[in-house]
Symmetry: C2
Subunit: 207 residues, 2 copies
């Protein structure tokens, strides 16, 4: 009954599934209009619900942003893990695949990526966000191990930090349009992917 009503779209006093709907609409606003347009009222409007309703699920705007960032980190971890697992067993291949997945996530979810990494209005004491971030660091540490295995490095932490900084910086510069001129100067048909591959190929870390 309830499910039917929801599916058919009959308006009901109790939405029944509002929290995920609010998160989905918030993500749409974030990606389409930017974080400055993401307010409690805007999310409520998009979900077709009164402006005071979100407070029941998120408390305040920081709560909504934090939960949304948690969703982002969960997807981010999954993307990194999937790329790693699909890359076979060579540590170098795995690290490169994760680097590509890292940048690819930033390109396909720019709003979410910036929300996740600019901690400004996030409450990292929220369990959902804390857990999701822990999982993401766990996934990233896969690079750490990969690099260490590859190099037998005495400084795996340092090498992994270098890898992280490299792909993170590339993603940020790309999102901010700072690499447009360079990408524009590449041979026709080559884009950000080609530049990233070239950057990864030209870079040797740990040796």
């Amino acid at each position: 009954m309830d499910k039917l009503a929801t599916v058919v779209g009959v308006p009901r006093y109790h939405h029944g599934d509002l929290k995920p709907v609010l998160l989905a609409q918030a993500e749409l606003i974030l990606e389409r209009t930017g974080i400055q347009a993401l307010t409690l009222r805007a999310a409520a409007r998009a979900a077709g619900v009164s402006h005071a309703a979100p407070a029941n699920h998120f408390g305040d705007l920081t709560g909504l942003l934090s939960e949304l960032a948690a969703v982002g980190f969960a997807r981010f971890s999954a993307a990194l893990a999937a790329a790693r697992d699909a890359a076979g067993h060579d540590p170098r291949d795995r690290a490169k695949a994760m680097g590509r997945a890292y940048v690819d996530f930033a390109r396909t979810h720019p709003g979410l990526f910036v929300l996740m990494f600019r901690a400004e209005r996030l409450d990292t004491t929220r369990p959902a966000l804390r857990d999701a971030m822990d999982a993401a660091w766990q996934a990233l540490r896969g690079v750490d191990r990969a690099v260490a295995a590859d190099r037998g490095a005495s400084l795996p932490r340092t090498a992994a930090t270098a890898c992280w900084a490299l792909v993170h910086g590339f993603a940020m510069l790309l999102l901010d349009g700072r690499l447009d001129a360079i990408i524009g100067s590449l041979p026709i048909g080559e884009g950000a992917d080609a530049l990233l591959d070239a950057v990864l190929a030209t870079t040797r870390i740990g040796g």
Copy 2:
């Protein structure tokens, strides 16, 4: 007379030097409270002037932010050039010195750095900002040449992009507190500087 009045602090109807004062106060607000607190009215308040006065000099908030970013880029270029010139003639030393200066600028001017690199509300068609950014790219291209000279690389553009991404990502992760755990695990007395040096030392680009 006018100068005296200004120095002594006698309030005058015509401020006479309001634009730089507004920029300086805006920077203070940016670094102390964050970009979301930087409004035309807040800058006017800090400068002790009516809230409508800034419009005479900047038009709107985008204008103020763009002029402030221009100031930031000018200082940024100067810092990079100074580091390069102080580093002697070895291309590797020069590149490393510029990398350190890049991160150092981000650490000492975090608000400005983020304003400069997150284009969000900047109007890059403003001559002041456009010129300042051009000068900064010019300074950064010094790395390009340094790497090319060092490696005789066929892909200087790619190698320079890798350098840029590395230091930019390091700076961003540092500002966002993402490296705190790693820095905390370093030997006592070593901080972000040591980690950056290790990262730069462990990284070979172009080879």
